[in-house]
């Protein structure tokens, strides 16, 4: 059972109404947006998939993400995962806004709707379960290389959650980023290649990579080893869990909490991603000496177990 204790005080009717409100916004988005734009003078952008514009798709995905968060808080894991499935379907096809790629990768890793592969060339997602999305994006397509630096730790964690067999491939590929010659079957201009390698190197030095010890990985930007000691990863996890506890405490203290209208994300998606990856990589032994930092962190750990229990199997998408 995964239940956020701070959410136990929510009135059930208010909670159901809130979930229904978000669902109605999603289903009726096109109509509501048009009706409540009555009188606007500027021309609306061209409509695309399912009648939705590129501008609206992330907004709908945000509604679905909020609905998923509420469901997860009240032990409605299946419903929450279904919301994330839908968010992927809304965001994914014909993706143009590359800033949503990390969000997509995390949701894909949680739902197992698409695999996530990261290499020195870029990021690839492959659909599974006869669903999900498929796309490939080179790093250069993410715009300024700072986006790559910021996104890399999130993408790598999402990719690692697909299990041990993919990890060496991932790191040998990323290891090229540190080398002088970035071998690539997709030749890039020398200047661009240098920029990508520099961005990946910078991304690999993120403190978030310290948490990899909990995934059984002893990683430095040049080497990949099977690790048997989590090292400093425990401290990183504790700091993240403490931060999450503080966030929930802050939010439950304001008037909107009881209206089931949290003013920020209730789920720490990175923390959840880490615990899901730990479960998929079967390194929970490293948590034996790391009790949750509080009841909210305990909830995230339980939620990770629920999610892996429901969407656990690894689907080999490489034939």
């Amino acid at each position: 059972v995964s239940l956020l204790p701070a959410a136990e005080s929510w009135n059930s009717e208010t909670f159901e109404n809130r979930r229904r409100f978000l669902s109605n916004c999603v289903v009726e988005w096109d109509r509501l947006s048009a009706e409540l734009s009555y009188g606007r003078e500027e021309e609306e952008p061209a409509r695309e998939i399912s009648g939705l514009s590129e501008r609206e798709r992330p907004q709908i995905a945000d509604c679905l993400t909020e609905a998923a968060e509420l469901a997860f808080c009240r032990n409605l894991t299946s419903a929450g995962l279904a919301n994330l499935d839908e968010a992927i379907r809304v965001l994914g096809p014909g993706l143009k806004d590359n800033s949503t790629i990390p969000q997509l990768a995390v949701f894909a890793a949680l739902t197992r709707l698409s695999s996530v592969e990261v290499s020195v060339q870029g990021i690839r997602m492959l659909g599974s379960r006869n669903a999900g999305i498929e796309f490939y994006s080179q790093w250069l397509e993410m715009g300024a290389m700072d986006h790559v630096v910021q996104a890399l730790p999130i993408l790598v964690l999402a990719a690692l959650s697909w299990g041990e067999k993919f990890a060496p491939i991932l790191f040998s590929s990323l290891g090229e980023a540190k080398g002088e010659s970035a071998s690539s079957d997709r030749p890039q201009r020398e200047g661009d290649g240098f920029a990508v390698r520099a961005a990946l190197s910078a991304g690999l030095s993120s403190p978030l990579f310290d948490v990899l010890g909990l995934l059984g990985i002893d990683f430095t930007p040049r080497t990949y080893l099977r690790g048997e000691r989590p090292g400093a990863a425990g401290h990183v996890l504790f700091a993240m869990e403490r931060g999450y506890e503080a966030r929930i405490e802050l939010m439950r203290g304001d008037s909107h909490w009881q209206q089931v209208r949290p003013r920020a994300e209730i789920i720490d998606w990175m923390l959840l991603m880490i615990h899901v990856a730990i479960l998929h990589r079967q390194t929970t032994r490293f948590l034996d000496d790391l009790p949750p930092a509080g009841e909210a962190s305990e909830f995230i750990r339980s939620l990770a177990q629920e999610i892996v229990g429901q969407r656990g199997e690894i689907v080999d998408l490489r034939g």
Partner: protein, 207 residues
């Protein structure tokens, strides 16, 4: 000064705000709770009182501690939408209509009304100036108003004049649009509405 379009969501509460009050707003304006509370005070006496009710602390309480001033706040919350950073990267855009509909239907719990109106805002704080709204969603200016930033609020004062309200629509808890009053219209437009282009700084040639 800028002219800003906004939406205003008001829940339907029998005996407090229903179809009749929604229609009346198109001819009388949308009052603040301060104006409702002191409605019995003669205009000549209430005008100076209303101006004195406006202050930094009153705005702070309105935005950050609404429950403590709900009965008498001189400010009126409007929705203009907002952009907020997403923890996984990129930004989220919260459209104004979603926030207005949320407040109007109390999160899908009741029927409610959404008004479209315009107001004048300044790129500088003006919490005590009667005729200028404060764009509290702008954290560059209003740094104390981060708690409910996601609501994308613009705070108007004392009264939204009826000539600045373009229309009102009513929604039920299932977010279906329903007619207001006996006329059966889904969009009640305001025949006394004055378009803001009349006071914009775009000037046509003489002809």
């Amino acid at each position: 000064m800028l002219i800003h379009w906004c939406l205003k969501g008001i829940p339907e509460i029998p005996g407090w705000f229903s179809d009749q009050e929604a229609m009346r707003a198109l001819s009388e304006g949308i009052p603040s709770n301060w104006l409702r509370y002191y409605g019995g005070v003669p205009l000549a006496a209430s005008l100076p009182l209303a101006q004195r009710a406006l202050s930094w602390s009153a705005l702070d309480n309105h935005v950050n501690n609404y429950a403590s001033v709900a009965q008498t706040t001189p400010y009126i919350s409007l929705s203009a939408g907002v952009v907020v950073p997403r923890t996984l990267g990129g930004v989220s855009v919260r459209p104004a209509w979603r926030t207005a509909l949320d407040f109007a239907t109390r999160g899908g719990s009741s029927s409610g009304f959404v008004f479209r109106c315009w107001t004048i805002v300044s790129p500088k704080p003006s919490p005590s100036l009667l005729h200028v709204a404060d764009e509290v969603r702008d954290l560059n200016i209003f740094r104390r108003f981060w708690i409910f930033h996601v609501e994308g609020e613009i705070a108007a004062k004392i009264l939204i004049p009826f000539r600045q309200i373009e229309w009102v629509q009513k929604y039920n808890p299932q977010l279906q649009r329903v007619s207001i009053g006996p006329g059966g219209k889904l969009v009640e437009t305001n025949r006394d509405f004055e378009h803001p282009r009349k006071i914009s700084n775009l000037i046509e040639v003489l002809s």
